[in-house]
Subunit: 236 residues, 2 copies
Amino acid sequence: MKAPKAFIFDVFGTCVDWRTGIATQARKAFSNKGIEADPESFADAWRAEYQPAMERIRSGGRGYVDLDDLHRENLDRVLGKFGISDRFDDAEMAALNHAWEKLPPWPDVVAGLAALKGKAIIAPCSNGSIALMTRLARFGALPWDCILGAAIARDYKPKPAVYLASCAALRLPPGDVMMVAAHKDDLHAARAAGLRTAFVARPLEHGPGQTKDLEPDSDWDVVADRFDVLAAATGS
Amino acid sequence: MKAPKAFIFDVFGTCVDWRTGIATQARKAFSNKGIEADPESFADAWRAEYQPAMERIRSGGRGYVDLDDLHRENLDRVLGKFGISDRFDDAEMAALNHAWEKLPPWPDVVAGLAALKGKAIIAPCSNGSIALMTRLARFGALPWDCILGAAIARDYKPKPAVYLASCAALRLPPGDVMMVAAHKDDLHAARAAGLRTAFVARPLEHGPGQTKDLEPDSDWDVVADRFDVLAAATGS
């Protein structure tokens, strides 16, 4: 296989463990206030608001706003559901919203990205903003060449514009770019837009009870369980 | 001084020596074809087309196109002026246009950026495209956290939108961002947009006969002759 000229990545779930990261930050915030709520359930509930919030923008019902703003609005809802809205002031909620910038990379990611960067451009193609992706990269030492994704397109995946704008920003045809994700819907959309595809399973993304995205459901160009394996599988 | 939360940089001239880089690539291209033209004069002539080409876009006379496209159009004009248009086919001209991705950093830049990155976000705020800035960073090992600038704003410096869109992409108020440049017009525009400013003189940018931008013309927040000095001068 001729190596792609760029690898672009889903980030939440594919590169970083959002559930553990959010639960860690929530646990600290709850502990400081003596709140007895389950941090992992809180992380799951916050993440559950993610797709509905983006769907309003994808469908044209709302103009583009950064994911940071959606996360902050969703935080209000989740604190309400947990009955703890009155325990946090605005500054504390803003601070908790930065939890999304403090998510640990999966163990293979930093070394795997370094190996991939030796072959081609590497960049996130995430729904996270440039601000969020930049701070997350600094937190986790993710060695991106640049930041692509939703903020470039001012729309949200899996809309084709996000993949196409990311390729266009690199001045590459989609066939020279490989989308790497742990989520099948992301890869189906990328393939429909003309990109090459790599599925990297992340069986612990949703915790020990995960049932989805455990196995490839299609003949992706590459299937791997670690980024270094992906690097070795994509030629030179 | 409280350190800025982000440093954003002019690139051509401030971070990299475009004149030496372009002349090096032109020298190779000319040598391969037995063309006897002066590579430094060719570099100067190509660069001289830069501002007029952007001005059409800044003034609204043309929609935004990447600087790569302007460079390619300008190359046609410069080859014509040198009377060597018929010596290059399309593929050779496209290859020569990539010279802008192969410009050597000034000697203090890579280590200086590493020091600055330890304190704050670092990113180019250049008129170069994301594609161009990404490949130039890979060529010169410039450790950017992300790529900002003209492509984010879809307009060209010194229009205020470019500085403001770069700050907005980081979700920072302009007063938390410091613009670093060797060019006074860039700094005047950044300051007018509310950013902090650092002047780093590059007295060899235009070769041995340089007359402009040798000394600061205003009370910039920092004046330095190297990036490590800038890092030391900006607090923590």
